[in-house]
Symmetry: C2
């Protein structure tokens, strides 16, 4: 291989200082690297004897060899040289490692720098602890094989590839003193989310944000095939990165001396370029378009491991991906090869007899709080979450004369809340610790009040007819749900707050990321060094019922089905029926820690029901009877059950349930109907299955134990049934919801298409009620007639329908007027 | 704006022929374009009077203005010039339109070329039909506003952005005579999946594949903010495309005459370059790396629409995104402006009095089958799906001496089936009509037999130590589930067959694509011109229960929860318990039409149960009693119910259920236990809710109406409950499954962690059985003891556990042996 350097910008970069990185420095680094590689391989292979204090025996070797060697030596090299950079510059460095298979490499480095033993005292910084370190790796009851939440200093799990650079970006936003180094593997670089992430320079402000230094680590192979970038020329790779706003340098080779020198130089140059760029920007110079340094690092897969195994080339090929020597326990040749491989790192020269690094190597570790594995951004010492300065909701709440008579956009007051939060969290340098992330829908989602105090962020040219677009903007709009989600994840994992607002249907684009983030939060709760981070809140708006203007592709409530089965301790799903409830839910989510919140509320005008106090009470309770909407006898005995319960979760379902209740009250006034609003969906789960579960007696107070419940639900009807399993007689719940019928049509046609209209609910209620009331036949006929006329009209008339929207609470819903 | 042309390769391109595109040609094209723009705007605005045969009145205007003008004029221009290219060259052109908001533009072009009226005879090719065309658009009972399945010639719904180029690629694979033109909007270009799609030249073979000509249509804005590429320099955009393997040309401007000439020239050049490149490659010349033409087209958003509205600039800005004039019905000024805007296209010169294009414009339409909207690849005339030559499964099935005694990799025989399918579908030019798509896991997923007959495809350099990598390979491996899914979608939508094989957890990455594809298939069934296309089959392997080596991030069965609520007529979810059942399921899926199939089967060695005949019977039935595994009295009366039912769906659940059944048979032999295997999950749904639903009497035969059922399920337990709602007493089903507890551990520890182990199932069965059998206490104690010892051992011993894997059917499961 050759060593080349292409495209490095030199403005402001320090001149090369050959004497800065002396031969002695290099030799020490190579020994530290060897120690890290030894411990990496030892974790994969050994139950004991990691420093080879005696010849390896078969029973030193784990019976099941799990772990990935291939990517690890590159990661340990980078760690070694970043340690040097940190010692020299005092920089605060966060490392995000995309190649998750490099878990043992990060654990090795973390143990070597001493922090691992501080977090996990049972893994002592000596020979005994070293034994435990290697034994626990990929072992039942031990630690997993990937970089993840159990790796100190990490904010990133490298299991599902694609999000490293988005997480790094999230960490960098609004943290001007931080240098985030992000390793991207060439496998991960083929994913869509990662491919989109390269556009970060269009959004990263050199004044108030920190820097991201990508290290594109190409070793040419995935599991068994070559990679696209691994096989692309240096010229193409560099042209690609340059076109995205980076100034790449290539470091490539297989001679450690040469590659260490080149990489040390590249990192020093990059650091100097970044420092200079930030200094100039922060002193008022216009540095846009900033070209940020990036490193393309080409090293052999499985570097320094066995070159040939059984005569077949392994080092530098896909065969080094996982475990290069596979039959160590039962093949004496393999065992001997492992012994000589591990010995090649000279444990005798790296460690003392007690298993501690020799002093000259220990001295290479940065001072305590600057150690990579102790990063205060990743939950290490000094990690703090500043509580959000949440404003008094009374400033934002709607005043309502009565329930169900005022129509208002349900997200508009939330926009005001977000505006005030942005204002209250702003810093003089333009940064802050609260951000809004959105795929260009902030205005569409009626959260545009935020633009009274900030703008959309772009580092690209701003044109005269742009509105609310500026380099200093704190609203990040990019048409990628992956980036919005990933940036917010990185932002909250480093202790800041934010909201991801998106069209409900396309939140599904980031579904797998939400799953992985929930897994992270679930595991974080069990780690001694992890303080709870701000919750991740996704606002799902422009919902299925009101995407009548965009049609079927925009009608998808599926993210709820993805999140509901995840770990209960980290998941909440909210269906505020109106604006004030949305405010209270948002307040609770934004103040929360360690959870994933889905908040589903439509952006269009809807009837408003609850004043702020009532909204608070509803959110606190999770679900409540709306006495005013039902027709139960006020003088009944407390344990008298109604004839039927109408329940709803979601704004449109609540509207239809209320209209159904009015029809029933008007036409069959003697039927005892109860109306229940559910805002905290997972509260339906039985006690023990979720922290928010309604207590049994409370559930019975709402739904009784035996009366049939007609439940109008925002999402798929069958989302609700499994939540109710374990509640008394779950079969009596009859759920209507979105059954995947949609089109470009009217809101009312949508509820008819999906059989959740007021008329459908009335028909179901009459069918299910404990008794047949006087007038039931007439009301049944009325409902059927309405539905027949509606359908005929839609199918045959090809006309714009009236939207049945003039109805308010307190009068019977008018029949549809058809010409 | 300026007109520039950068980076065009000239080898083999025809020299410019100014006389080829005469002034008369241009004038005719501009008029055809005007007609298309008129019909586009008319669809958005008008109920009637589209050709302005009288002055517009408020009641000509739709009460609700829905649709998107911004992107449309660029699309109609491209359509106009592609028509010319097709007439001149006779090329078969498929157009994939990423900007889905351009629906009315495509509908306009489709009506103008006459094909729309052939598909929809009620929309006649005359004034009456024109009236219906505009009236039906975005109207209840009419057609949706996006490009989608209702647009003849489309294989792509542009609602959820990101997949246009992947669909185009899928259409191009193995179709050497096809030119697929793919329009990518600058909003869509910010998405991850689209960003990854640009790497297509690394996978597109100029010999056996067709060409893809991307047209990156930049008009600078999304809904309300600028776009990254819209604000990037031509140099950066071209460098980006060039780095991915394209040879871009920029066409930019706002003067129609100028832009038409430039684009006509660019398309002609591109066509010539492609033709030359393919000719050379097909005559044996090595043209790699092929640089494929691409067009960067910069035109104003809302081009030719209202420039100023109420004094504010609209044309060329984000304000033109949707409906430029919003108050046409109640603002006389807006109405007048609409009138003059529409009149600017001179309907009087484009159409005759009967609403037909004047002859000189009608003559611009390509001949019948070459019309874009009639593409035979998109379901138009001539669309054919060649049935797959499925081999006799007997060649691949495992011979089994008895159920549950042989261990074998459950996907290995499937690999053989795929190999034979690849062989049987191969063409002399290296193409075919069956492909395997996978994120570099073909070997890992034990489908490596395919490499006996083909290779992984790459157009990049192949190195000596690569294995099974070649430019002619028919296995497409790219580490992007988005690309695998999108390519397969494009491939099947154009009538070919394939399989997407992936790690179960990371199938979630493409979840939203599966949702959108299911929506497409659902709607396609209602379109007169759509023949059912081959089903899309996703093989989910390396499953949660056996990703013990990779840990929690790799343990996610969530895609089932995404697909289960989708339209029943297009969804099937399969859980084959063993290799032979997997073969039968695969055969059924690969032969199927118009559905999304999920097939969940693990790749590791598992016990094998069914011979081929039994497997066929199980798949046909959907679920069956395994008499041999239960302990019901063979002499019982037919209507005697067992004491408890053990049911399972999935390979690991079946194993645990069988082990539980053995424990019960051994220790409480008088308990009547029935074992039911479920392979077709959605068959659990009640009749009427799914075509595969088990009939009521059949369900009762399996599960009785009253006996408790302990159900071991592969995925989340609460996936099963909603399917059973509506069945007799659904509350009696007690489901165990994956409850989001995972780690790097042993397979047996996984089932213990998630409380689905044989011991948990026995305990649940004893708790739920209709009677307490003799020996129940002792068996309960045994199970509890086993679980206690297991847990203690895992947590305290930090040791590799025995894997409880030596058990086979016919002997009681041995207790775990702990040292």
């Amino acid at each position: 291989m050759t060593v080349t350097a292409l495209g490095a910008r030199t403005d402001g970069a320090v001149p090369p200082e050959p004497e800065r990185y002396s031969d002695l420095d290099l030799e020490l680094d190579l020994r530290w690297w060897g120690a890290a590689n030894l411990l990496t391989a030892a974790q994969i292979y050994l139950l004991d004897n990691p420093l080879l204090h005696r010849a390896l025996r078969p029973d030193d070797v784990k019976p099941r060899l799990l772990g990935h060697w291939g990517t690890s030596p590159g990661l340990t090299m980078l760690h070694t040289l970043l340690n040097r950079l940190i010692r020299r510059t005092g920089s605060q460095v966060l490392v995000v490692t995309g190649p998750g298979h490099g878990g043992p490499a990060l654990l090795a480095c973390s143990w070597l720098d001493g922090h691992y033993s501080q977090v996990h005292p049972e893994v002592t910084p000596d020979l005994a602890g070293l034994g435990r370190l290697v034994r626990q790796f990929s072992t039942p009851g031990g630690v997993g094989s990937h970089a993840g939440v159990h790796v100190p200093g990490s904010i990133h799990e490298g299991g599902e590839l694609g999000y490293a650079l988005a997480h790094a970006a999230g960490a960098a936003f609004d943290d001007p003193d931080l240098l985030t180094v992000c390793v991207v593997g060439d496998g991960e670089a083929e994913t869509g989310p990662l491919a989109a992430s390269w556009r970060l320079p269009a959004f990263l402000d050199p004044v108030r944000d920190g820097a991201v230094l990508p290290v594109l680590h190409l070793n040419g192979y995935k599991i068994s095939g070559p990679t696209v970038l691994g096989r692309s020329s240096d010229a193409d790779v560099c042209a690609f990165l340059a076109s995205q706003g980076w100034a790449p340098v290539v470091v490539a080779g297989d001679d450690p001396h040469q590659v260490f020198r080149q990489l040390e130089h590249a990192l020093t140059q990059a650091h100097a370029t970044i420092t200079d760029l930030q200094r100039r920007a922060r002193s008022g110079e216009d540095v846009r378009p900033a070209r940020w340094p990036a490193v393309v690092l080409r090293t052999p897969k499985g570097w320094t491991g066995p070159r040939l195994v059984d005569g077949v080339l392994v080092e530098g090929t896909w065969r080094a991906h996982q475990v290069p020597l596979t039959h160590v326990r039962d093949d004496a040749g393999h065992l001997a090869q492992l012994q000589s491989w591990l010995w090649s790192y000279r444990p005798d020269l790296c460690f003392d007899a007690g298993g501690r690094l020799v002093p000259e190597l220990a001295a290479l570790t940065p001072e305590a709080d600057l150690r990579i594995s102790a990063s205060s951004r990743a939950g290490g010492p000094g990690f703090r979450v500043r509580p959000l300065p949440l404003p008094d909701l009374a400033q934002h709440a709607l005043d309502l004369p009565a329930p169900g008579v005022v129509r208002h956009g349900s997200t508009l007051p939330l926009g005001g809340l977000l505006r005030d939060l942005l204002a209250a969290t702003g810093r003089p340098d333009g940064g802050g610790d609260f951000r809004l992330f959105c795929p260009d829908e902030t205005t569409s989602n009626r959260l545009g009040a935020v633009f009274e105090v900030t703008d959309r962020c772009t580092q690209l040219p701003v044109l005269p007819h742009d509105v609310h677009v500026a380099p200093q903007g704190r609203v990040l709009e990019v048409l990628s749900e992956h980036l919005c989600e990933g940036w917010l994840e990185g932002y909250t994992l480093t202790g800041r707050h934010g909201l991801f607002a998106t069209y409900e249907a396309f939140a599904m684009v980031a579904a797998s990321m939400v799953v992985q983030h929930a897994k992270w939060l679930q595991l974080a709760a069990g780690q001694p060094d992890r303080t709870p981070v701000p919750s991740l809140t996704v606002l799902l708006t422009s919902t299925c019922w009101r995407n009548d203007h965009n049609g079927f592709s925009h009608q998808g409530p599926g993210l709820v089905d993805t999140v509901a089965p995840l770990a209960p301790e980290v998941t909440r799903i909210w269906f505020p029926p109106d604006a004030n409830t949305a405010l209270v839910v948002a307040e609770q989510c934004l103040a929360g820690r360690g959870q994933v919140n889905l908040v589903v509320v439509d952006k269009q005008e809807h009837l408003q029901y609850l004043d702020l106090g009532q909204a608070r009470a509803l959110v606190l309770a999770g679900a409540a009877v709306w006495e005013w909407a039902g027709s139960e006898d006020p003088d009944r005995r407390p344990d008298d059950d109604p004839d039927v319960v109408l329940a709803a979760a979601g704004d449109v379902p609540v509207l239809e349930v209320l209209a159904a209740a009015e029809l029933l009250r008007t036409h069959v006034p003697h039927l005892q109907v109860r109306v229940v609003a559910v805002v905290d969906l997972l509260g339906l789960l039985p006690p023990g299955d979720h922290p928010a579960a309604l207590p049994t007696d409370r559930f019975t107070e709402l739904f009784t134990d035996t009366v049939h419940v007609v439940f109008a639900f925002h999402g798929h009807p069958r989302t609700v049934h499994p939540l109710l399993h374990g509640r008394p007689d779950a079969d009596r719940f009859h759920v209507r919801g979105f059954t995947e019928h949609g089109s470009t049509t009217t809101p009312f046609d949508m509820v008819v298409l999906n059989r959740m209209s007021r008329y459908h609910l009335v028909l179901e209620a009459l069918r299910r009620a404990r008794r047949v009331p006087d007038g039931a036949d007439r009301l049944t006929a009325l409902c059927r007639d309405q539905l027949d006329r509606h359908r005929t009209h839609v199918v045959e008339a090809l006309d714009d329908l009236p939207e049945v929207r003039d109805w308010t609470w307190g009068s019977p819903p008018p029949p549809e007027e058809h010409p």
